[in-house]
Amino acid sequence: MIEVLLIIISIFVLLFLESFLFELFSFSILILVLLLLWKRINPVVYYILITFFAITLDSVNHFPLGTHVLVISILLFVFDLLSIVIPSEGKLHYLTILLSTFLYYILLLLIGSLLQDGAFPKVWGSLVNIAVVSGITTILYAFVNRFLKSIQYEGSKSRLTLD
């Protein structure tokens, strides 16, 4: 029960941060959460949470229903493909993150415009901004990823000591 409550509060906090940061830096916290939670939690829970948040974003941002969900599903496919080509361990993994993030912003722009207006948007003008934001997202991902790994390591070490 408490987990459900925590998830609801987290969604509200995430939505606030998404709206705040997107207005401020055109930065999406959804992609960061999406990549951080990938393969870290139960896939069913993951998909439910992501779908819920994606539909919420579609609703509040006045996107056609399913825009974010479609972008995320394509992104997860590409992310898996990139993981095959680029090793998922080591520093090269961050290149996958960078490319995926870049793709997310491009796809959101493209699919959003296509579904909403039926026209291709002018992406060239936004490429530099998207590249910068993708770089920041990758750096943030690296920090949080290391933090989460250190927590996991501390947890496993204490378990070993107890044994």
Binding site: F12, L15, F16, L17, E18, S19, F20, L21, F22, E23, L24, P43, V44, Y47, T51, I55, T56, D58, S59, V60, N61, P64, L65, G66, T67, V69, L70, I72, S73, I74, L76, F77, D80, L115
Partner: protein, 276 residues
């Protein structure tokens, strides 16, 4: 049979299934049902989205203001330059207006048989002298009297080709014989002033003020009385200023005080030189 028994692996097909789901959702979104699905989400989450966006907008405004700070400084400096330019234009207009006023005033006091040369003040210094823009070229000579209306301004003490130095009454080397008249006298109307003289005296420049001495001990001089120059070097009677700070020492054989000039010499723009 083995194939039938194999458990369905969600993880393997999850992305594929999710892609199908997303396509269905997009198609659903294109129908009227899409809005019905979105409505409860918008109802619940819109306030927090609006709040977050507004907060982001406020911070963004500050961010842009900070980024544009250099442009604001440039704009501020440009505005300062513009203000200075406007002030200069305004002061030029004021100069023209003052020139007009002084000419008007001078024309009402002119003594027709004399020749007057109009001059502009170039600089003034704290040593009790001013520079004017007329010199030998205009026929100015040392000892010429500089006036404005009926007010004495000074005496030419040095002449070059295009400019001259005027020694003001404030100058320590300046001294004149003067007469004191009641402050109630209308100098524009009164032509005969001999009967109105309260006392005679001598004025001496003291750089920052004009000292008046040798006023009759029994004379009824008081603050606000007019001090007029009546000196053989000036050859006419001109107003110097008003009497202030009159001493009242019974042990003294005469009274003294100070003369407050009619004009603040630093603010005069145009003067007239009387050619001998």
């Amino acid at each position: 049979m083995n194939m039938m028994k194999r458990k369905f692996d969600f993880k393997s097909y999850s992305k594929f299934l999710y892609l199908i789901f997303s396509i269905i959702l997009v198609l659903l979104g294109q129908t009227t049902l899409g809005d019905r699905v979105k409505y409860p989400f918008a109802y619940i989450f819109s306030p927090i989205h609006v709040y977050g966006s507004n907060a982001g907008k406020k911070v963004n405004n500050w961010k842009e203001a900070l980024i544009d700070a250099s442009s604001y400084i440039t704009e501020f400096n440009e505005m300062k330059e513009e203000i200075a330019k406007l002030k200069v234009e305004n002061s030029e207009k004021l100069l023209d207006y003052n020139e007009y006023l002084s000419l008007k005033e001078q024309s009402s006091f002119l003594i027709n048989e004399r020749e007057y040369i109009q001059a502009k003040i170039i600089t003034d210094n704290s040593q009790g002298s001013i520079l004017i823009n007329v010199g030998k070229e205009n026929g100015i000579e040392i000892g010429d009297i500089v006036i404005l209306g009926r007010v004495y301004i000074g005496m030419i003490s040095d002449v070059s080709l295009y400019s001259s130095r005027v020694r003001l009454p404030l100058n320590p080397s300046s001294s004149f014989e003067v007469v004191v008249l009641p402050g109630s006298v209308d100098l524009n109307k009164e032509n005969r002033i001999d009967s109105l003289v309260k006392s005679t005296g001598v004025v001496i420049g003291k750089s920052d003020n004009i000292l008046i001495e040798n006023l009759g001990i029994n004379s009824d001089v008081k603050e606000g009385d007019f001090v007029l120059i009546r000196d053989s070097r000036v050859e006419d009677i001109f107003v110097l200023g008003t009497l202030v700070g009159v001493s009242n020492n019974p042990a003294s054989t005469n009274k003294s005080g100070f003369v407050s000039p009619i004009f603040d010499y630093g603010n005069i723009l145009n003067v007239y030189v009387i050619k001998k």
